[in-house]
Amino acid sequence: MNSPFRIIGKSFPRLDARGKVSGKAIYGTDFAMQGMLHGKLVHSPIASGEIISVDTSRAMAMPGVYEVVTAKDIPAQRYGSFVKDMEVFASGRVNFIGQPVAAVVARTAEEAEAAAKAVKVEYREQAAVFTTEDAVKADAPLVHPDWQEYKAVPTVKRQGNITNQARLVLGDVDKALKESYRVFTHRFVTNVVHPGYTEPRAAIAHWADGSQLHVWSNTQLPFEAQATLAEIFKITPSQVRVNVTVIGGGFGGKLRLGVEHYAAAAALKAGRPVKFVSSCEEEMTSALPRQPLTIDLTTGVTKDGKILAKAASILVDTGATSGSGVGVASSVMLMLAGPYKIPNLRLESRSVYTNKTPTGSFRAPAGPQGNFAVESQMDIIADALGIDPLEFRLRNIVREGDLAPNGQKLESVSLEECLLKAADAIGWKDRRPEPGRGKGIACAWWTTTSGSSGVYVKVGPDGQVFLNTGCAEIGTAALTGAAQVLAEALGIELGSIQIVSGDTASTPFDFGAQGSRTAFAVGNACIDAVGKLHQRMKEIAAKQFSAKAEEIEIDGGAAKFGDKLLPLKEIAAIAQTSQGGLIAHGTFIAPPTLHDKERTENMVITAINSPSFHAHAVDLSVDAETGEVKIHDYVVVQDVGRAINPTYIEGQIEGGVVQGIGQALSEEIVYENGIVRNAGLTDYKMPTAMDAPNIRSFIVESPSKVGPYGAKGVGEPPVIHPPATIANAIASAVSARVQTLPITAEKIVRTLTEVSETAK
């Protein structure tokens, strides 16, 4: 096939690959400074209680110790995304086991760790609450007794442990359920999973002169880190400079402050640079895992398999702070409705505090949880109606021009194609090829997060082009993708581009590496910059050729006047001697997604921007005696709008699927009375190379109107479907329907035993 593109659609190696394979890339854990000290945290051993006293004297007397930092050392105030309910160090009370109460600064990390054990904190323990069902009861202990004093965005409706109650309502659900041929109600419960990045969160902070804070960290969002640190230390954002090191994975787990604030507080008090690196145990007990959800889902259908109504009651366990859980409680409703056409909806969600680890925005927040519920129930209903699950989906999916549940008009809808291709690739016609073997399918839509992006594109006199972006490269190769967009638009080779990224002082603002937006938004900003550069090129060439700017054409990275060519590097050289160089500031902000505000109540996320569509299918066997699941084949069909770099899109798909398989089958942070029982990688079980199947990716290109060259967001979707896809295949293989994640061997065997007992 003849591609109209030179660079787009080609699988170039990522621009930062050589540094990474040679061990030369400097990650957050590697970064060091002259005079640097090391910090370690003191954690709360209780889930709820007041702090009576903190005695630091014994710790201060230990070898190598410089300072012990507590809440007293920083301005008293709370910060947070939707509700300001977070503190750097617990001041009055603690809300979860693992909450930082103090930090010790010492010459070595080992000395700091030893001294952290010597900090004596006295607590008065109070009643705690560990499940959302308990937490929403009228007489439940309050995780935050002072919740009314906290600032919050106006959209949220709070009460006690509930940080938001939101609704998505359409039509008349009660009436429709009454008129339904059958009504199905099920409960689905999802697991707490850790993003599992291999590099722990790390930061070094240094106060240059007592008022200028400089932080190097592996954050995904330097500008948010800058803003939050400014808020915490009561300084202006411009007094904070954040530089992003190379990042060893994020997956949303490094969006919010990780250890930057501890490092900054410690460095302020110690008067020297201080480095913090999370331990593996800290990662498991006090990082930002995915919210567990309890979803009660009711669906009414007609006899011929049309969905008439859906009602849901959703509890989002956000842990001890609300964090992005408030957002999850909103976006999960968009997931629960879709990707189907449903005339009547009443979805209600509550985000709720419990005395457990604060949760965060792990890749596709709300995606896997919501999809597990909807897509599991779709299969249950299809089976009950005697309709093939694929056919049942095809009767209800959204198509071009349909309205989404929020009333937004859907465009570039490729869902049917995705489903049919996935079904075809997995051999759907033969759904149960042998006893114990079955196939499953699931589909979804997903959003491309908005937010603005700025880039500086600077051309050197040698024709080398700097792509200067405030966005961090978290490993997805999305910035290589953005550079491909730039190379394509500017008419240069990819190899001529160097990326400078993630410095709040020298790179333009970017909303950051999150929400599948990086290549999409940064790419668009590059296109904007190229427009401006072309104008400058024309002006400079016009002068050179004594012509008018309008008479100059741009051709393959050069300015052309008649048969005279002025290459980019010569233009840049002229610009350097005559006008301070050739540089352009490109910007992008996605247009708002119009939708029906009448349908949403108190929702903090209301739209699916430039939606992408996808379907997964799996072929697996279940050993009915041991409960072991063996995946033979896994197929992903994903609409990416435009495949900028197919290899790294496959990389996103393969990695996302395996992460999703972890959530589906093996991963779970297990709590008992607020204590994490598996705080290490021995028992937090991420898939190994032996557990990961070969994955076949099929890319669909149904261009979006907004994305660069039609691209849609790519990064998050692959992690959404595996739990539902696998649950459906297991049910098809051995008739065991497991409605709680992870679907462990033990649960499969237990379910099968129950099934055979009821059959007796």
Partner: protein, 162 residues
């Protein structure tokens, strides 16, 4: 006398060091020799990012006491390339899109290096088995396996030519 005197060869260079006896090989590589190509994470030999080659065998350097490496030879990811020329494994990782965040990659490459030295023409299944002790959260392993298979082919062709 809680320090140990160490004579350690790292990437062909001899070092004489005096380190506390409880230091791991990882501590020595990263903190004493400042070779940060070898990564740190779980410190319980579960994740494999700290893998180096010790006397020809892959080991989790977090679980090996430096003192036990007296007189021995260590190869880290920094010791693979020859000048500007990457090792065939490194080249294949770049070429096959096997690198995303890259944090597991030094450990992954060293795991693969020791394995291929022992087993030059493995099956895909054997490669998966060999790298099971090195977690990667980005790639889903598929392109890593592709890269190792390709490197094994190139390495054995080189071997045949040599």
């Amino acid at each position: 006398m809680t320090e140990v005197q160490l004579d350690l060869t790292v990437n062909g260079r001899r070092h004489r060091l005096s380190v506390p006896a409880h230091y791991s090989l990882l501590d020595v590589l990263r903190d004493e020799l400042e070779l940060t190509g070898t990564k740190t994470n779980c410190l319980e030999a579960e994740c494999g990012v700290c893998t180096v080659v010790l006397d020809g065998k892959s080991v989790a350097s977090c679980a090996v006491l430096a003192a036990q490496c007296q007189g021995r030879e260590v190869t880290t990811v920094e010791g693979l390339a020859e000048g500007a020329a990457l090792h065939p494994l490194q080249e294949a990782f770049v070429e096959f899109g096997a690198v995303q965040c890259g944090y597991c990659i030094p450990g992954m490459i060293m795991t693969a290096k020791a394995f291929l030295d022992e087993n030059p023409r493995p099956t895909r299944e054997a490669v998966r088995e060999a790298i099971a002790g090195t977690l990667c959260r980005c790639t889903g392993y598929q392109k890593i396996v592709d890269a190792i298979m390709a490197a094994s082919q190139r390495l054995s062709q080189q071997g045949e030519r040599a």
